[in-house]
Amino acid sequence: MLEAYGIAIATLFQPLNLLVMLVAILIGLIVGIIPGIGGGTMVVILLPFIFRMPPEVALILLVSLHAVVFTSGGITSILLNMPGESFSAATLLDGFPMTKKGEGGRAIGAAVTSSMAGGIVPVFLALAMVPLVMPIIMAFGQPEMAMLVLLGISFMAALTGGSVIKGLISGAAGVLLSLVGYHFVTGVHRFSFGTTFLYDGIELIPLLLGLFGIAEIFHLVMRGETAIAQKAVVKLSGVAEGMKDVWRHKWLWFRSTIIGYIVGIIPGVGAGVATWVSYGQAKQTSKHPEKFGTGVVEGVIAPEAADNAKEAGSLLTTMALGIPGSAIMALFMAAFLMVGVEPGPGMLAEHLPLALTLLLGIALANIIGGIICLFAAPQLVRVASAHLDFLFPVILIAALIGVYVATPSPLNFVMILVFGIFGLVMRRHGYSRPALILGFVLGGLLENYSLLSIKIYGPFFLFRPISLTLLVIMILLLLYPQLKRGISGLRGRLSGT
């Protein structure tokens, strides 16, 4: 084992590999900042180029790129209220309000530090905890997965602040939208109105960019505002303050990192749920939960830590079990096979040094990427104080190019505008756009897992011990505000008598 560690470190620090890593980090940071061009799109674009590369070089390239996309993606969420990926959406709930309050630098400092540290620690957890987590993974069958998806969506519903009902409606609408198109089990076309464009369903990128990016820019112009942030802080001191915030909230960061890591390990669910579950626990355990969504730094620290933390867990599951921990990990599986490495239970035995190289690569890429982001942050913060006359064309063009690159059909331009208006309506009337996105991302999984559960275990699959536990947690979570109000009311009455 120690020998494998030695080989991994030596491989990682070879000049060529370090150079490849540096290039990948720069690409990853740029890709993360540009809204709509997610890490997944970039991995897909790079796949054809890795064929002739040695496995360790090719995989270091992809892993390093992917590792830092989340770090810089948080910056876009914070400054422009446009998540690069659905997973970054949790960050914008408090990150963007912080920018509006003139605390963009602080939010970036907190996000980058939390994300960077959140990406490093789980690597060592992954290396140490392999024997412990495997039995947990193996205990999760389809019913438990279905319940875990529902739990993730319920967390979102509970986070909408004002109304749990509106949150649930949004999450359910997201699931319904995810069901549009061809049903692979029966071949039925659902909600496609006979148009071939909708046969493959609604694409995520137009939905994401429409609901957040376009809706936000519509909102700003509609309100007659001239800039996203009138007094964006362009000082390194703001960034340093954000870094200190992570230390001040170290236990929150640690909890979020552990949550991200554990959720990341669970195959097929980790990507979307980690950030929201983490944000949820930050809000639920906070002394001032009512301030979440108005620009509190804890709301940035928690999702950013979980966002990056899940990657080590996700990669570990992909390599050890051959089960992709997320949609991007499915692309990584293709990359593994393309360079002649077969992920699965045999990989840790046959390619242990390579597996360790990749895990350590995530940690190193996070350190380098994080340092670059922190030094470039004051320049990045300037984006927020640009006049809306210039930002509107830039954001619109970036969004439309992003949509076209991800889904090359001009009809998606119509979709992005429709979702832009829909997002604006949701924003104005207190419906949760993140809940809708999460429902959309996890809707397909929910259907697969619930169908398989019914076929294998019958209609009473919910009553398996872990499923039942998750169900109870979900109900308690949804009823928590009422329970809390009831308990404090009872206390008030008791103290009064």
Partner: protein
């Protein structure tokens, strides 16, 4: 009694739920029907609760709220006018991309928009060229992603 936008949005979700239920019943197989039907029923019930709450809320506020709403009407009208204009620009740009492609419509849109916002000729031209150069260098040169060339100039 004038009803707020929130009421109509809740009603929209109610209609979505109802539409989902009716459509789901036509899918034939229980496998295709189960989740859409279940989710549509959930949306329908929750939206009905929300509609009822909005209706009740409006009734409770009564005439005082109605007076306040009238005062806000002119503000809303101005906002809606701005939204209409900006949506028009966005839709026009999408149409331009569809017909002319990214490389022509990007500088054209940036220039026209800035001129409409009463920016100087110099600023509008420099910004339009910079935006085109950035898009071209990042996507066509850097990422080797061919951008859409439009219906007129040979869609890619």
């Amino acid at each position: 009694m004038k009803l707020k936008g929130s009421f109509w949005v809740a009603l929209l979700f109610l209609a979505l739920g109802l539409f989902g239920i009716i459509q789901s019943l036509t899918f034939g197989y229980w496998e295709s029907m189960m989740l859409p039907l279940g989710i549509s029923i959930i949306i329908f019930i929750l939206a009905a609760v929300e509609v009822a709450r909005e209706f009740k809320r409006r009734g409770e506020k009564g005439t005082a709220a109605a007076t306040e709403a009238t005062a806000k009407d002119s503000e809303h009208k101005a906002e809606n006018r701005r939204l209409g204009l900006i949506f028009g620009w966005a839709a026009g740009f999408c149409l331009a991309i569809y017909l002319l492609g990214f490389y022509i419509s990007t500088p054209l849109f940036a220039f026209a928009y800035l001129k409409w916002r009463r920016r100087s000729w110099m600023v509008a031209v420099v910004f339009a060229i910079a935006l085109l150069a950035f898009s071209y260098l990042v996507f066509a040169v850097g990422l080797k992603v061919p951008l859409y060339k439009g219906l007129i100039f040979g869609a890619h």
